[in-house]
């Protein structure tokens, strides 16, 4: 599904990712944990196609394609979805209108027929009922006037409507209280399937109580320093990231 090989990324003069290697198989949920500044959010942005980064070395292959060669909208149409850590407010653009435009642009790219407004409304209602999202959010401008929790749930709602193949959740748990966190996790769990993979980027182990990962990676100083099963997340929680930093120190200076 996704193969990241020795990825080096620079933003300005700062090297953020320093040889990141990672492979995600279809249907798997991988968690990426790590201290602040480790490059977690950069990884999400790079995969979604954000400008402003320079890839100096390495490659990203997604379903056999060179992902880095695609425009952001092409990646989305190919099934890559990034749930933003900070969902963007867009005054004047209606949430439903935006989402339908996005879905139809993706369908068009894939050679599928467009969905008319009736069909889209039906799809939306079905997704909303599962996610416990209020109808009224649909008629507002994208993320404008949404609470922190509503913004994050709107991301998951978009995920549910767009049905990507690879979903990257960038600190979707940040700023959420426990109830909101459970709702978001429930939405994600409903979306799990043998064809869909998740990359869950998080600082805290808490989210992983609700979204059970198959693999946990620790990202520190721009590379994966340790990978393991769900128990690795618990170990991190107990011992803190300092433990990881100590472990990588010799390699980092090499």
């Amino acid at each position: 599904m996704l193969k990241i090989d020795n990825l080096h990324v620079r933003a300005g003069s700062r090297e953020i990712l320093k040889g990141l290697t990672l492979e995600v198989a279809p249907g798997q949920v991988h968690a990426i944990m790590g201290p602040n500044g480790a490059g977690k959010s950069t990884l999400g942005h790079i995969l979604a196609g954000r400008e402003g980064y320079e890839i100096t070395e390495g490659s990203v292959t997604y379903q056999g394609k060179d992902l880095l060669a695609l425009e952001p909208e092409e990646r989305a149409a190919e099934g890559v979805f990034l749930a933003f850590q900070y969902p963007v407010e867009i005054p004047g653009v209606n949430n439903t209108y935006f989402l339908r435009a996005a879905l139809n642009a993706q369908r068009k790219h894939r050679g599928e027929p467009e969905i008319d407004s009736m069909g889209f409304l039906k799809l939306v209602r079905q997704k909303l009922s599962v996610l416990h999202i209020k109808d009224e959010l649909l008629n507002r401008a994208v993320n404008v006037g949404f609470s922190g929790g509503e913004k994050k749930r709107n991301e998951i709602f978009q995920l549910a409507v767009l049905e990507p193949t690879l979903a990257i959740l960038d600190e979707t748990d940040s700023g959420l209280d426990i109830d909101a966190l459970k709702l978001v996790a429930e939405g994600v769990n409903l979306m799990r399937s043998p064809e869909r993979s998740f990359l869950v980027v998080t600082h805290y182990q808490r989210l992983l109580d609700y979204i059970k990962p198959d693999v946990v990676h620790v990202l520190a100083d721009g590379r994966i320093v340790q990978s393991g099963g769900p128990e690795l997340a618990l170990e991190l929680e107990q011992r803190g990231y300092a433990w990881v930093k100590d472990r990588i120190a010799p390699g980092a200076t090499a």
């Binding site: 954000r50 952001p72 909208e73 989305a76 963007v88 005054p91 653009v93 435009a101 767009l162």
Partner: protein, 440 residues
């Protein structure tokens, strides 16, 4: 006499004035006096130059070098040109009233509609008073020429207490007819105490003409009167429009207006509003869509002359290709206008390197206990928002169009008339789609 008086433009306009006088354009001494006074003032002013602070960003050199002919009867215009404009509808084409395009069947009760040509014929003293209206500015050559030459226009009056619900549509069309012509229109909208009216004015172009339209509009709102006015300028790409709006608002009067500047080669609009009565309120919003080689210049001159007056001004500009948008937001809160409230926002999008935006908010306060806020920005589309849309699959061109439309639609809400707002949003979107296709 000013050296500018020798320019081809001035010579041509003066020839029009001489011809008008010769054909009995001034039926009474009062009217003749008004015409002559205006003509002399216009000749003395000459064509404004960029040395004048009020014209600093709008050069008229090319216009001054051109000649224009006088109106020449009613042009033939296909009814299709106005087909999408609702009725009741009054149409002026190439400076002449066009009854075949107009439709006054559903003219609301209590609204008196006349043409300036009728008033000049039947009540010349009344017309003379309007034409002689003093201007506050010493570089008002076009307004003076208008006084000397205006021979057509819409004159709308609403009796006190009459609240007209049906919107009236006014259409001014420039029609290609083989010559470059200058038209001088003088409109007047007067609402009695407690009266209400909604007016939508459309500037349209039929064919690739290069006419000059010189318009003056007087607005007088009595105590507690409400005027809602939309103006949509989508003239031909070669058209020149010079417009002055002079409004005076009485106690607790409310003037809501929206200006969409979407067409023309050069369009200058001076919107002068005097909040003369206590509690008078102005909500004036607008959009300047300067793409192609269009030059759009809007100059607000808002004067708070009485206490507790309010103005709220929301303007959006777009500069693309080699277009230029000029915005001056002048607000004066005069001595004694205590407790007044003024808000001005002018945000602009600069899409291409060849485009230019000049924005200048000017706030002068001589009163106490005043709340005033103004802001002007020029920027590009929000890169984060653009990425967000693209990351969801919306292609770059569509995402750009979506954000641009959202940005420019903000001023439309001012009218408080959903049907009108929806129609104008559609017009704006269509215009943006056309702009996007020429940029692509």
């Amino acid at each position: 006499m000013s050296p500018a008086a020798t320019s081809p433009l001035v010579e041509a306009l003066d020839a029009q004035a001489v011809a008008l006088a010769a054909t009995g354009g001034a039926a009474t001494p009062a009217l003749a006096h008004a015409r002559t006074t205006a003509r002399e003032a216009a000749l003395a002013h000459g064509v404004p130059t960029t040395r004048s602070e009020r014209w600093k960003y709008t050069a008229l050199r090319a216009l001054a070098a051109r000649r224009f002919e006088a109106p020449a009867g009613r042009p033939a215009v296909d009814l299709k040109v106005v087909a999408d404009i609702p009725t009741p509808r009054l149409v002026i084409a190439n400076g002449r009233y066009a009854p075949a395009l107009s439709d006054l069947h559903a003219l609301p009760e209590g609204l008196r509609v006349r043409l300036l040509s009728e008033v000049l014929r039947d009540a010349p003293a009344e017309a003379a008073a309007w034409l002689a209206t003093e201007t506050r500015h010493d570089d008002a050559a076009f307004q003076q020429w208008n006084g000397a030459l205006a021979d057509e226009g819409f004159v709308l009056e609403v009796e006190p207490g009459v609240r007209v619900a049906t919107p009236l549509h006014l259409v001014v069309i420039g029609v290609e007819d083989g010559a470059d012509r200058a038209f001088h229109l003088r409109h007047r909208i007067a609402l009695g105490a407690g009266a209400a009216l909604t007016v939508a004015k459309h500037h349209l172009g039929a064919g690739a003409h290069r006419h000059l339209l010189n318009t003056v509009l007087h607005v007088e709102l009595g105590e507690g009167a409400t005027l809602t006015q939309a103006r949509v300028q989508r003239e031909a790409d070669g058209a020149t429009l010079i417009q002055r709006t002079q409004a005076t608002l009485g106690t607790n009067a409310h003037y809501r207006r929206l200006d969409l500047e979407l067409g023309g080669a050069l369009s200058r609009h001076e919107l002068d509003v005097a909040l003369a009565g206590d509690g008078a309120q102005l909500d004036a919003n607008g959009v300047l869509l300067a793409d192609g080689r269009r030059h759009l210049d809007t100059r607000l001159g808002i004067e708070h002359r009485a206490g507790n007056t309010r103005c709220e001004l929301t303007w959006r500009g777009l500069g693309a290709q080699r277009g230029r948008a000029v915005f001056h937001g002048g607000i004066l809160i005069a001595e004694g206008a205590d407790g007044s409230n003024a808000t001005l926002s002018n945000k602009n999008l600069l899409l291409d390197d060849g485009a230019e935006i000049d924005t200048q908010p000017v706030l002068v306060i001589h009163a106490d206990d005043v709340q005033a806020a103004h802001g002007a920005t020029v920027g590009r589309l929000d890169a984060t928002a653009l990425f967000y849309l693209r990351a969801r699959g919306v292609p770059l061109a569509e995402a750009t169009a979506m954000l641009t439309a959202a940005f420019l639609r903000e001023p439309l809400a001012v009218l408080g008339n959903e049907a009108l707002e929806t129609a104008l949003a559609t017009t704006l979107d269509a215009r943006l789609a056309a702009a996007a296709s020429t940029r692509a």
